[in-house]
């Protein structure tokens, strides 16, 4: 019987940045539930099968060749959980012995919970684009059931699987007040990554300050982006400060 797998549109063989602390391979799936105006991967959001897919054999071959180096596979989209065949793919990756992380936009909580329950994922990240109100709908460019997002957040906060919330902060993105509003929504979260996106060179300094603020609500805030290494030490300090408040 032929395997039914979601369409794999891209593979990044080795990455040092997609799963911090690990050397990972990144599998990109096509198809997304949102239409964010600032989407960095607009070529991946369409669902059409006609857009082609990389045969799983060649993915397998690439992963096998790098098996001594790769410490995990990140599955990204689009929205991976929107694919009914995702469990099949996650199962195959798990069979190969790779820890798997899925980067989601949080709009498919049921599928996410099922994958967690079936122990098909080792880590889930949810991208929070804006506070969960009208601002989110604008940022997502689509009509979204916000309760799905709340449910995804709750599932991660209450569960045991490793997780991370992520928010890209760019010019024109969430303002300072927005960031703190998101922080309140994920109060008590284990880890939140603020990413300086869109080449905001100076953004990191401001982000670090923001991270300190946000540290009142979550246990660890990390800052990523240009010049990130420089602020790494500060981020560690935030981690210590933040713990007391959570």
């Amino acid at each position: 019987m032929e395997l039914k797998l979601p369409p794999i549109r891209g593979l990044l063989e080795t990455s040092l940045t997609h799963w911090p602390g690990r050397l990972s391979s990144v599998v990109f799936l096509g198809g997304c539930t949102l239409r964010c105006p600032t989407c960095p991967v607009p070529h991946l959001i369409g669902w059409g099968r006609e857009q082609g897919a990389i045969p799983f054999d060649s993915i397998l071959d690439a992963l096998y060749r790098r098996r001594r180096w790769i410490e995990g596979v990140v599955v990204k989209g689009g929205e991976p959980f929107a694919h009914p065949d995702l469990p099949e793919l996650l199962g195959l990756l798990a069979d190969l012995g790779f820890p798997v992380r899925v980067d989601s936009n949080g709009t498919r909580p049921a599928e996410m919970e099922a994958a967690i329950a079936a122990q098909l994922v080792d880590c889930v990240t949810v991208d929070l684009k804006a506070p969960l109100d009208g601002r989110y709908l604008r940022a997502a460019g689509a009509d979204v059931a916000l309760r799905d997002l709340f449910r995804s957040i709750e599932a991660l906060l209450a569960g045991d699987v490793d997780y991370e919330f992520r928010t890209a902060v760019r010019a024109g993105g969430p303002a300072e007040a927005d960031v703190l509003a998101i922080a309140r929504t994920i109060r008590g979260a284990r880890r939140w990554v603020l990413r300086a996106a869109g080449g905001r060179d100076s953004g990191v300094t401001g982000l670090t300050r923001l991270a300190r603020e946000a540290g009142r609500f979550v246990r660890e805030v990390r800052v990523e982006g240009r010049g990130m290494i420089g602020s790494f030490r500060q981020a560690v300090a935030v981690e210590k400060d933040g713990r007391n408040d959570s």
Binding site: R22, E71, G225
Partner: protein, 722 residues
């Protein structure tokens, strides 16, 4: 009225010797006449064209009904030249025809085409010892040299130059040494009665042009104090002409190999100093050391170390390193607080800056053979604590040095500050305190400047310059006050792409044989240089005598018993491409070819070893040096020039922009690093997003486990390391 209208049919075609009919081209006749005229000192292009048109006219008349043969045309050229009173040119032309005929004969006998043509020669190449390279020689450049060196006006200089070049062609030489060129020029000047010009040329060893080149260097990197540079130029010339065996010298000038440090033939290539020896033993030529019993306060020690470094640096061309400085000096810094440590670290850096290329070795866990030993206290006597007991201080000093260096860089002092090299073993990769230092060092590498990590591998024997940076394999050596440390006497580099070019595309066996032949020459060069070093250390007249323990005092810098020689390679990736058509990253076959070459050279080192001469295989990663090779290769292999990249890859690494991801790059470079132990793998992260220190740490761990790579440089790409 045109010739055609006058009833003479213009000649349009000519039959070649092999029967092919080709277009008649009057310009070719003019070229041949002009070249023949040049060879006898005349140089009138216009006249040559006039004569060519006469030849055309005669041919048109004589061959109105058919197609002339090449021989007919040539006969006509001779006739015209003789009949128009150009007997000398005619003679040269006849000579030219004869030689061409002989060459054709030879060509039909040999399998390949004969390269050399009489009047269309490849460039004559002059091996210029002063510039340490081979330069293509043509009439203009030689005339310029003569004009400058012999005060000759342009016209006569050009005539003498052409006469010298034609003499070289007569002799069948397409490669000539600078001194032979000088002698031929002198002979030509004398033969023409140009005595004042002959006398004006003066001293031949470094001619006027050479001296003026020294005083007004065109290449900025050759700048410096003129007198010093002139001295270096003379020393280099001496080394090339009198120290190296002839075959080695010409291979050096051709660019097949490069023997390093010829402008300082009595200096060692690199030296690792024991800080204990510096602290405890008197150092020749440096006063104010600590005798036994004298207490070495950190500040005084830093001043003394700086003085010693500057003194020793005079006798080292490439680099000075202090392995495991943080452990060996830990007793001096024990008990200091973080701020005090930072201040002392800053003094240490300041004292060591400006002493050439200095590298401070920082071990991140107690060096295996040192850890259990009793540490020497400030007074020099073994104290109650072992070096392992002083790990916290040693790591504190490493941190303080990192911070102080960062602050120094912020002040714009980066170039002058010593580089930090971190040695780490498996223990350090599991130890929290060591990991914190590693994280800082990684951040430093990405933020400001490259940082070098040396992976301490007990299972690999240490040879060559690896000794300078790697694990302290011999604790006695580093704590022995009678020997300063380890000396790498000299390094010679094999230009691997040249070996591949000499063998030709598709001839992989020939490539390996050529690489071996070049290695033989390089090893002969190393042996000659080592002999010279030893001579410099052997008697009271020798400049290294005091450093070899000659005066019977203090520690020895040059220790013939233990000096090592470094045979280095460069451009493996391009060599493999030139030999088999694929780069190292393209296929397993290409990688295997690279490995075969390295193994062959390793074997060469092994079989050349004898007491007092211990060569090891290294990677040459000095960008400035490696970039000398492509232009030289272009001169000698003009037909391959379009295929040659502008730069060769340093050492045995893949091309910086090779189309492979990090994991495959490390797999490949890791396999190559088994033979070449000093090869450095570079992690350069020039753009965002940058990896987190945790990711880099994961990479370090994996590299440790999966490969035998010994050195890793982490940086942001703004600077090349070597």
């Amino acid at each position: 009225m045109s010739a055609e209208q006058g009833g003479v049919r213009p000649v349009r075609q000519v039959r070649k010797r092999d029967g092919r009919v080709v277009d008649f081209d009057e310009r070719k006749i003019a070229d041949a006449i002009y070249k023949a005229a040049l060879s006898v000192g005349a140089e009138d292009r216009f006249l040559a064209e006039e004569l060519a048109s006469v030849v055309t006219l005669f041919i048109e008349k004589s061959f109105a009904a058919g197609i002339p043969g090449i021989e007919d045309v040539q006969d006509m050229v001779e006739r015209v030249l003789i009949e128009t009173g150009h007997a000398r040119t005619a003679k040269a032309y006849i000579l030219y025809r004869e030689k061409r005929a002989k060459l054709r004969e030879a060509e039909t006998r040999s399998t390949g085409p004969v390269q050399r043509e009489l009047f269309a020669p490849g460039p004559v190449v002059c091996d210029d010892a002063e510039r340490e390279r081979a330069l293509p020689l043509d009439r203009e450049s030689l005339a310029r040299r003569l004009g400058a060196g012999a005060d000759l006006p342009e016209g006569p200089a050009s005539q003498v130059a052409e006469a010298v070049l034609s003499r070289l062609r007569e002799l069948g030489l397409d490669r000539v040494s600078g001194s032979l060129l000088g002698r031929l020029s002198d002979a030509e000047l004398l033969a023409r009665g140009m005595l004042p010009a002959f006398l004006a040329r003066g001293v031949k060893s470094l001619d006027r042009e050479g001296i003026s080149g020294v005083l007004f260097p065109k290449e900025p990197d050759r700048a410096g104090v003129p007198a010093l540079r002139a001295g270096r130029a003379l020393l280099r010339q001496h080394a090339i002409e009198d120290v190296l065996p002839k075959a080695v010298a010409s291979a050096h000038l051709e660019g097949r190999i490069h023997v390093r440090g010829l402008s300082a033939p009595t200096a060692a290539f690199a030296v690792a100093l024991s800080t204990d020896a510096v602290r405890l033993g008197p150092i020749p030529g440096v006063s104010g050391g600590f005798g036994p019993g004298a207490v070495a306060a950190p500040r005084r020690f830093a001043t003394h170390l700086g003085r010693v470094a500057r003194r020793v640096a005079e006798h080292v061309t490439h680099g000075l390193s202090f392995p495991a400085l943080n452990f060996l000096t830990a007793p001096l810094y024990a008990g200091l607080g973080r701020e005090e440590l930072r201040e002392e670290a800053w003094h240490l850096l300041a004292e060591l800056s400006g002493a050439g290329e200095v590298e401070i070795g920082l071990a991140l866990s107690p060096p295996p053979l040192l850890g259990a030993r009793k540490a020497r206290g400030p007074g020099g006597e073994p104290g109650p604590e072992t070096y392992a007991d002083l790990t916290t201080t040693a790591l504190g000093l490493a941190t303080a040095l990192l911070e102080a260096r960062g602050a120094g860089e912020a002040l714009g002092e980066r170039e002058r500050l010593p580089r930090l090299a971190f040695t780490l073993g498996p223990e350090a990769l599991e130890d929290e305190a060591a990991l914190a230092v590693i994280g800082m060092a990684l951040a430093e590498g990405l933020d400001r400047d490259s940082v070098l990590f040396v992976l301490d591998r007990e299972d690999l024997p240490l040879i060559g310059t690896a000794r300078l940076r790697a694990r302290i394999e011999d604790a006695t050596r580093l704590t022995d006050t009678a020997t300063l440390g380890v000396t790498v006497g000299s390094r010679a580099v094999v230009n691997l792409p040249r070996a591949a070019l000499r063998a030709g595309l598709g001839n992989t066996g020939g490539f390996i044989a050529e690489a071996e032949a070049a290695a033989d020459l390089a090893l002969a060069g190393l042996a000659a240089r080592e002999r010279f070093l030893r001579r410099a250390a052997a008697g009271p007249d020798g400049p290294l005598w005091p450093f070899a323990g000659g005066r019977g005092e203090g520690a020895r810098l040059v220790d013939p018993e233990h000096a090592v020689a470094s045979l280095a390679v460069a451009g493996l990736n391009e060599a493999v491409l030139l030999s088999c058509g694929q780069e190292l990253s393209d296929s397993d076959e290409a990688l295997k070819l690279g490995l075969r070459v390295l193994r062959a050279l390793e074997e060469k080192c092994r079989s050349a070893r004898r007491p007092g001469f211990e060569p090891g295989l290294d990677a040459e990663e000095d960008v400035a040096l490696v970039s000398r090779f492509p232009p030289l290769d272009r001169v000698d292999f003009p037909s391959a020039a379009p295929r040659l990249p502008a730069v060769y890859s340093g050492g045995v690494g893949l091309r910086a922009d090779a189309p492979v991801d990090l994991a495959l790059r490390l797999d490949t470079e890791g396999r190559l690093a088994v033979s070449v132990r000093t090869s450095t793998v570079r992690f350069v992260f020039p753009r965002s997003p940058r990896p987190s220190p945790e990711s880099l740490l994961a990479l370090l761990r994996k590299t440790w486990r999966n490969t035998r790579i010994r050195q890793i440089a982490v940086g942001h790409g703004a600077r090349e390391w070597n």
